[in-house]
């Protein structure tokens, strides 16, 4: 069978080119891979290689011809032994010159129709049922809660292991993994060299192969070294593999400002990670949050970024003692009910919001404080329901305001509860500068309860 050689597209954007030169003539034998012609575009000169074997029977476009459209037949090839004459009239192309896919993709009506069919349901899910009552509690520090969560899950599932800098022999840079090496041994509690990019990639590979790593970053500031693996590998592989390859991994460690460690060690990454589809992002405040959410994160089949806070590690909260205690990811908690204003916060800022609420109560203003717990997925329904009651929203975060979590929460309220608002939402946030070292300046840069009180009083 004779085949037509078509003008090829040699880049994603090429539509036409000049047939600069024929390197084979009529009657020449051509083997697959032989360069038969040169074509020129406005960017470059490129070679056309033969795909099939045969004899060049006819040249349909002379060399020097400008503006040859992609997919125009440029020559005819006959298979060995076939009479060149049999190629007249020009034979049917081996494949249609008008590719079906191009036609589909460029038909605006078809694209619009497809988009409509694929449109995601935007309606809000109803607010979740009240949290299960887990019964008796006892005081525990956030540090103990995190350690217990890991130990419980490691006893439950042999595939769970912890790796990171100083997690084993040193017992954790912040003593979160205290005692774990003794119980689980060096195979499952693994000290790594200081090599975030490398060990985050290693753990991601282990997760793709079915293990359940917990990666401890000494702080999330250092996870920037590993950002590519977290986002491009861990978060995207499930989608890129058409659902074949999940990545059950937890990236955890302290996030945000500690105390007097200045700009490179004091940054909130909440909005960075919350931006990424394919990740879940969790930010606990209390010991119960820490324990219940970390257990859920370890069991989750998806990559979870678990943002802790160094200052909270030593704080004590009541924590359920039930062996099975676990919290669902994606559910916020109303820490305090009130009817005048909704204050939304996460991580250490929940404490700031609670203090502000106490001060406000002294002044006769009842604030409802929502502890987000999860940033992605965000429990929008709970926030919306609260704002429908209070008609006012104040968001509190330690991070910078621009494109931050407060901006996102406010936008969710604009989209879902605009008509209920009696005042514009107000954001309380860290000052928009790298965090300074000096004690007085540091204090001026991070949200204080008074800031929240002032923000509330602006709109109540």
């Amino acid at each position: 069978m004779a085949t037509q050689i078509l003008m090829p597209a040699l880049s994603p954007t090429m539509t036409e080119g000049k047939l600069a030169k024929w390197l084979k003539g009529v009657g020449d034998e051509v083997k697959a891979g032989d360069v038969i012609a040169e074509i020129e575009t406005d960017k470059a000169t490129m070679e056309v290689e033969a795909v099939d074997e045969g004899k060049l029977a006819r040249i349909l476009i002379d060399e020097g011809t400008e503006g040859v459209a992609v997919n125009t037949p440029i020559a005819v090839l006959t298979v060995n032994g076939e009479d060149a004459g049999s190629a007249e009239p020009p034979p049917k192309a081996e494949t249609p010159a008008e590719p079906k896919v191009a036609a589909q993709a460029t038909d605006p009506a078809a694209v619009a129709d497809q988009a409509a069919k694929g449109q995601r349901k935007e309606a809000l899910e109803p607010a979740p049922a009240p949290e299960k009552d887990w019964g008796p509690t006892k005081p525990a520090t956030v540090r103990e809660a995190l350690r217990d969560a890991m130990a419980l899950e490691m006893r439950r599932d042999e595939d769970v292991f912890l790796l990171g800098e100083e997690v084993a022999q040193y017992q954790g840079a912040y003593k979160i993994s205290q005692g774990l090496l003794e119980e689980f041994g060096p195979r499952r509690i693994i000290d790594t060299p200081i090599t975030e990019h490398g060990f985050a990639g290693l753990a991601t590979g282990a997760a793709l192969n079915g293990l359940r790593p917990i990666v401890e970053f000494m702080t999330f500031n250092f996870a920037m070294q590993a950002m590519d693996q977290i986002i491009n590998s861990a978060a995207k592989t499930l989608y890129m593999s058409g659902g074949q390859m999940g990545c059950p991994i937890v990236f955890r460690g302290p996030n945000g400002a500690a105390s007097r460690v200045a700009a490179q060690h004091s940054q909130c990454y909440a909005s960075w990670y919350a931006h990424v589809p394919g990740l879940k992002v969790v930010a606990p405040w209390s010991s119960a949050d820490a324990k219940g959410l970390l257990r859920a994160a370890i069991r989750d089949p998806n990559p979870v970024v678990f943002l802790e806070n160094e200052i909270l590690y030593g704080q004590t909260f009541e924590c359920p003692v039930d062996e099975d205690f676990i919290l669902p990811i994606g559910r916020a908690k109303i820490e305090r009910t009130g009817s005048h204003v909704t204050i939304v916060a996460f991580s250490i800022m929940v404490g700031v919001a609670m203090k502000a609420a106490e001060k406000l109560a002294e002044q006769g203003i009842e604030a409802e404080v929502i502890n987000l717990r999860s940033l992605r997925p965000l429990d929008t329904a709970t926030i919306v329901e609260s704002v429908k009651k209070t008609s006012r929203l104040v968001t509190v975060e330690e991070g910078w305001p621009f494109a931050g979590i407060g901006a996102e929460v406010s936008m969710q309220i604009v989209e879902h509860a605009f008509d209920w608002l009696d005042a514009p939402p107000v954001r309380v946030h860290g000052v928009d500068v790298p965090l300074p070292y000096a004690a007085n300046l540091e204090k001026l840069a991070l949200p204080q309860p008074e800031w929240v009180v002032d923000a509330v009083k602006k709109i109540v």
Partner: protein, 336 residues
């Protein structure tokens, strides 16, 4: 070492019959990749494949030779020049080609494309678009084998361009420290996009790149599939014996541009032609088959079979429907 030596001894005793079978298998596998890539280039030219498309033509002996040294369950991971690796691990040509055309019949149901394809079944872990990222992930695949106490080996491919990435050296350190069973394969095709290895690497012997961590390495002629297999046998035996990572620098050459849209001005046509005509891996294998007195008909039968597979793959890649619009939202997260 004892194991490798024994393998070599066994190989010698039945040399002719064993070699013929292996060479035939290698020839078929390499030809399948070559024809697949030529067809992919053609479909790209017709606008049926979009975006980036990095062809493996010229390098076939690397992945085919290594694969001959592996057994079921060994993991494979590579960069974005990945079509050959997928075919070599036993993934079907139609599923790979349909992914290139962005159709629902593709391995990633059209959502990954040329650079991002995976097969859990064939233990092929991608297909990675970020240069060097697959090296630490591949080290993690080896870690999972170490953790589970299995004797599986992870083969982690990357180019000589990627070999300069920081995380490659981080991975070498981790793998050597933990004695992880990973065979690192540097496919040195001489050009990282348009930059020759001489202009990119201070050291030209990349097989020594693991030396600071005590990782043994060797250079291999990547145009001789049996030489690649022999080196891989040694490397894999080293890893399976629990001796830690091994590094192979396989000297190869890509005939085509870095991607489809590469005018290739950084090298002469004569250089490319010389590589093609004088040292082509498939021609080398064909000559070997002739020297082994393999019937020409048997070779022709392979050629015909490969042609049929590729034509079928191309047909399937054009007839398989585009993914349903609802697919846009699936596979972001697993139900937990």
């Amino acid at each position: 070492m004892a194991q490798a030596a024994e393998t070599r001894k066994r190989g010698r005793t039945k040399e002719k019959s064993v070699d013929t079978g292996v060479v035939l298998k290698a020839y078929r596998s390499m030809l399948l990749i070559r024809r697949f890539e030529e067809k992919a280039g053609q479909l790209y030219g017709m606008g049926l494949i979009g975006g980036f498309c990095h062809l493996y033509i010229g390098q076939e002996a690397v992945v085919v030779g290594i694969q001959l040294a592996l057994t079921d369950g060994d993991e494979v991971i590579t960069s974005y020049r990945d079509h050959g690796h997928m075919l070599a691990t036993g993934m079907e040509a139609r599923g790979v080609m349909a992914e290139l055309t962005g159709r629902s019949g593709g391995y990633s149901r059209g959502k990954g494309g040329s650079m991002h394809m995976f097969s859990k079944e064939q233990k092929f872990f991608g297909g990675h678009g970020i240069v060097g990222a697959q090296v630490s992930i591949g080290t993690g695949l080896a870690f999972s084998n170490w953790y589970r106490g299995s004797d599986r080996v992870s083969v982690t491919y990357f180019g000589e361009g990627a070999s300069n990435q920081g995380q490659v050296f981080e991975s070498f350190n981790l793998a050597a420290l933990m004695k992880l069973p990973v065979v690192y394969v540097i496919e040195n095709n001489k050009y990282g996009m348009g930059t020759s290895v001489e202009r990119a690497s201070a050291s030209q012997d990349l097989s020594k790149n693991g030396a600071p961590w005590g990782i043994p390495g060797q250079q291999v002629d990547g145009m001789d599939v049996l030489a690649v297999k022999a080196a891989a046998d040694e490397a894999v035996a080293h890893c399976r014996a629990g001796k830690g990572p091994y590094l192979l620098e396989v000297k190869t050459y890509r005939y085509r541009g870095h991607s489809m849209s590469d005018p290739a001005k950084y090298r002469t046509r004569e250089e490319v032609q010389m590589m093609r005509t004088q040292n082509d891996c498939i021609e080398n294998a064909r000559r070997k088959l002739e020297a082994l007195d393999v019937d020409e008909k048997a070779i022709k039968a392979i050629d015909d079979e490969v042609k049929r597979i590729i034509q079928d793959a191309a047909d399937f890649a054009q007839s398989s429907p585009e993914p349903d619009a609802a697919e846009l939202y699936t596979d972001v997260l697993l139900e937990g």
